[in-house]
Symmetry: C2
Subunit: 226 residues, 2 copies
Amino acid sequence: MRVIFNEEMKAVADDLDRMAQDVRKAIKGAGEALLKSDVEAAQAVIDGDIEIDALELSIIDQCVRLLAKQTPVATDLRVVVSTLRLAATFERMGDLARHIAEAGRRSYPTSPLPEEAKPLFEQMQAFLNETADRLVTMLQDRDAKTAEQIIANDDTLDELHSKTFQLALSDEWTGTRQQLIDVVLLGRFLERLGDHSVSAARRVVYIVSGFDPSKEPSRDEDGAVE
Amino acid sequence: MRVIFNEEMKAVADDLDRMAQDVRKAIKGAGEALLKSDVEAAQAVIDGDIEIDALELSIIDQCVRLLAKQTPVATDLRVVVSTLRLAATFERMGDLARHIAEAGRRSYPTSPLPEEAKPLFEQMQAFLNETADRLVTMLQDRDAKTAEQIIANDDTLDELHSKTFQLALSDEWTGTRQQLIDVVLLGRFLERLGDHSVSAARRVVYIVSGFDPSKEPSRDEDGAVE
């Protein structure tokens, strides 16, 4: 029984790894779409989201079958339940990357961002590209250390996000109202990508250590209206 | 075994009903905070979110224990897995209502919205108040008909949400940049409350009928940058 569980769980873990890799590709592609007006990159992210969605459904099916047939307990059960939540998180990250890519495609060949906002968005994007690499490593190696880095670093993104509001309210701002709308929504999408990365990292810490950091009081990483 | 499963599942279902009721209270309170500058209502939503979070954790614990001890299969397993997802959805709705309440509290005693935006937000809020009532009925009665109404009606909210952007770009708009930021974020939070309601309704249809409407191509209700 145990051998079959491990074998089937391995197949699920492979799918989850692929999801993390697809999400990394989507995050990086969304950045190309947004910051370099790369319309092909935008299209690839939009098309690629279908695969991410399909992977989630496949993972749910496999997990439900595993639960029914193998009746895992203790650690195994923790892994299955956490896998379901990780898949849901990655699916959502794929959606957010797609929204960013769609904004890039819609405003092509110009950027949706006014010039003065680009440096902040470039910093946010660079941060998320690094986080995306960490997500893949974390998943492949079930590595709690990398997961903890993701959790610890999240403030950086929140600070950059706050600065987009400060910029929009400052004398430096030259953007149109449409650009302000885009800056607010795109900033929110990027920030949410960071939140979901933290939530995924917490799941991995839980799988590895059995300690659930989502039960700490700071669990809601979500930014309020600023 | 089966009797014990039903008894324990009944306790989980009661918690899920309470979550739906708490979410309804949060949505309505957020509306009072936003549209009537009711700072006590705002505080109640903010404080109440702790109970919603606690209910989710309690539901997760109960479901994991159920999976371990009772090894449900087929329909029962579907109910447990869907319950986990419903609890996650309601938890997120509590967060969104809290963000709206926080915006109301922050700008107290004035509204964060310019006068011309209020009618649209009142319509969005009235729509969500009705949806919140339906969520509670749907959960209590495991009623697929009510769930299907929620799914069918979602376009109304998306249209109102689009109109907030049109308004912000029109000559009618008199708001400051801060107000534009708030209109964009608050509109997004309200729209996401609608999306999560649809997602919860789809879960209930799945529990009741075994047919998973989330596998339909239209599954992503999320609004893009407009």
